[in-house]
């Protein structure tokens, strides 16, 4: 029986008069793979901002591993084990790939890292995702797919219990999408729970055990990929009325 790792209850977030999220609840079990989908502007990114602490929700609660983390700052949440990757990669541009990984290892994962040099651990993570040959390269000069890999490697270096992946595959070619998927599967195999936000349906459907569909700030469907696809409400959200 796996434990509840994340529990979001009645979360509401407004921007001025605009309600980006309206009393949305979701939960995630340890090691689970959850897909979060919905048309543009449905509130997906706002949701993960509220989970990772980049935004603080107006109403509702966010619990992580049974503790209430609503209102906690983003770096505290990262230290507790919530990692995220960004839709538009945000590498630390003055640093090498390896140094990029040292930041979460030394800050987010501090106290949870294994003994031994931080750089060795960073190197191990790079090896795991097949990225070790880029370790000494400057991160600002990477290609797009490599930047996405770096995003994931860096999130991994935070030694998270939960990874929120924000459109890690947008704009990549089919084979590159498969590369990223493989990394995300590997990651999940180490016991990390994953919330995946993605527009590339093929990828979300393949990856997710369960899918939640948002539309206009509300949860309109939840279930297995197969259930969700055949949900008439989802069809309406995507194809229109």
């Amino acid at each position: 029986m796996s434990e509840r790792i994340l529990e979001v209850t009645g979360l509401t977030k407004r921007f001025g008069g605009f309600v980006a999220l309206d009393k949305v609840s979701l939960h995630l079990d340890e090691g689970e793979r959850l897909g979060l989908i919905g048309p543009n502007g449905s509130g997906k990114t706002t949701m993960i901002n509220c989970i990772s602490g980049a935004l603080i929700n107006d109403e509702g609660r966010v619990q992580f591993k049974g503790a209430d983390i609503t209102g906690l700052k983003a770096h505290k949440r990262a230290q507790l084990g919530i990692a995220r990757s960004f839709q538009v990669p945000k590498p630390f541009g003055s640093m090498t790939v390896l140094e990029n990984l040292c930041i979460p290892l030394e800050f987010a994962a501090r106290g949870r890292t294994d003994p031994g040099a931080v750089e060795d651990q960073a190197m191990e993570i790079l090896k795991m995702i097949g990225f070790e040959d880029r370790a000494r390269e400057n991160s600002a000069g990477l290609t797009q797919v490599d930047m996405r890999k770096l995003e994931l490697a860096r999130a991994l270096a935070a030694k998270p219990a939960l990874l929120v992946s924000d459109e890690a595959m947008a704009g990549l070619s089919a084979s590159e999408v498969d590369d990223i998927l493989e990394i995300l599967f590997k990651l999940n195999a180490t016991g990390v729970a994953v919330i995946m936000i993605e527009h590339i349906m093929r990828a979300v459907m393949r990856y997710s055990q369960r899918i939640i569909v948002l539309d206009a700030g509300q949860k309109i469907a939840e279930g297995t990929p197969d259930e969700v696809i055949h949900d008439p409400q989802v069809e309406r959200a995507y194809l229109g009325e």
């Binding site: 602490g53 980049a54 770096h75 990262a78 995220r84 945000k90 800050f107």
Partner: protein, 315 residues
């Protein structure tokens, strides 16, 4: 602790400086070096915030003057010994830096820079109206009679500024290579990503602004005894604010040794220009160099050197 090259160099510099005071007679050398070193401390301090953290401070002269006038006031009121004055100046400068750190919560980039400029000018107005420390007219400060183990007071001030320089460089070097320094670099590269990677951004920024404030204020504290007559024009001198920015920018802001190189080169050029040509031209040189480096070589001398080495290695 094993002594590495850096600490050996520091000790060697301090010893050399001391030997210098025992052998050189011409006070001119001490005056000149003091000015260069004062610029160096300011540049190194500026770079902790501007170079490592990415927040530009236009109000360097304000922080410097806080040290200057803390010193003037304490000396006049209690006649405290110099070390105590330095300590108090450091604390006040640090508090001001801490305040500037909280400003970063609301003000990013350009607005932060303008706010620091405004802060400096508010301090200037207050000083202009503070009669006790001489107001706009200025005040005389007497150098203490005894000069410790030195032959005269300027030698003592020179040695003090040398120690401060070494300390500032050591602090800056420590900050840049430590965990704190990595966190600061992450903030400079991308503050949002840094926060999400567990970097306590606010705390580190506060450390950065406070260290900057302490160092700048301490750099100003001996100034009244150095010039013996202080007025707002000299304490808030334009050159201090420009040099604090120009020296790191010209040397290179990404590494701890960038501002040191910039300060030494620009300092020597300036002192030479002041003596041989004129002090106005000196300002012009700083301005032109600053603009040239910003437009042509934004990474400074250190950056140019690194590029050159990379190219050479590639061949």
């Amino acid at each position: 602790m094993k002594l590495d090259k850096f600490w050996i160099a520091c000790i060697a510099i301090l010893i050399l400086g001391f030997v210098f005071t025992k052998n050189a007679d011409n006070e001119f050398y001490f005056f000149t070096t003091y000015v260069i070193l004062q610029g160096l401390v300011m540049a190194v301090a500026w770079n902790i915030l501007g170079g490592f953290t990415g927040y530009v401070n236009f109000g360097a002269a304000g922080f410097f003057a806080v040290g200057v006038y803390t010193s003037v006031a304490l000396n006049k009121a209690f006649g405290l010994p110099l070390p105590v004055i330095l300590a108090v100046a450091g604390i006040i400068g640090g508090l001001l830096g801490l305040g500037a750190g909280y400003l970063t919560l609301r003000l990013k980039g350009v607005y932060f820079a303008i706010a620091t400029l405004a802060t400096a000018l508010v301090i200037e107005t207050i000083v202009n109206n503070w009669k006790y420390v001489g107001g706009a007219a200025g005040t005389y400060v007497l150098q203490p009679k005894q000069s410790f183990i030195f032959d005269n007071y300027i030698e003592l001030l020179f040695m003090l500024m040398l120690v401060l320089s070494v300390a500032a460089v050591a602090i800056s070097r420590y900050l840049s290579s430590s965990r704190v320094g990595k966190g600061l670099a992450a903030i400079r590269d991308d503050e949002v990503a840094a926060e999400c990677m567990g970097v306590p951004t606010l705390r580190l920024k506060l450390i950065s602004t406070t260290a900057m404030g302490v160092l700048m204020s301490i750099a100003g504290a001996p100034f009244p005894f150095f010039v013996t007559f202080v007025d707002p024009v000299s304490a808030f001198a334009l050159l201090i604010a420009v040099n604090a920015i120009a020296m790191p920018m010209i040397g290179g802001t990404a590494y701890w040794y960038g501002p040191v190189i910039g300060a030494l080169i620009l300092g020597v050029v300036q002192e030479t220009a002041t003596v041989t040509i004129s002090s106005e031209l000196n300002l012009l040189i700083v301005g032109v160099l600053l603009v040239l480096f910003i437009t042509m070589a934004p990474q400074g001398i250190v950056g140019v050197y690194h590029d050159w080495r990379k190219k050479r290695d590639a061949k």
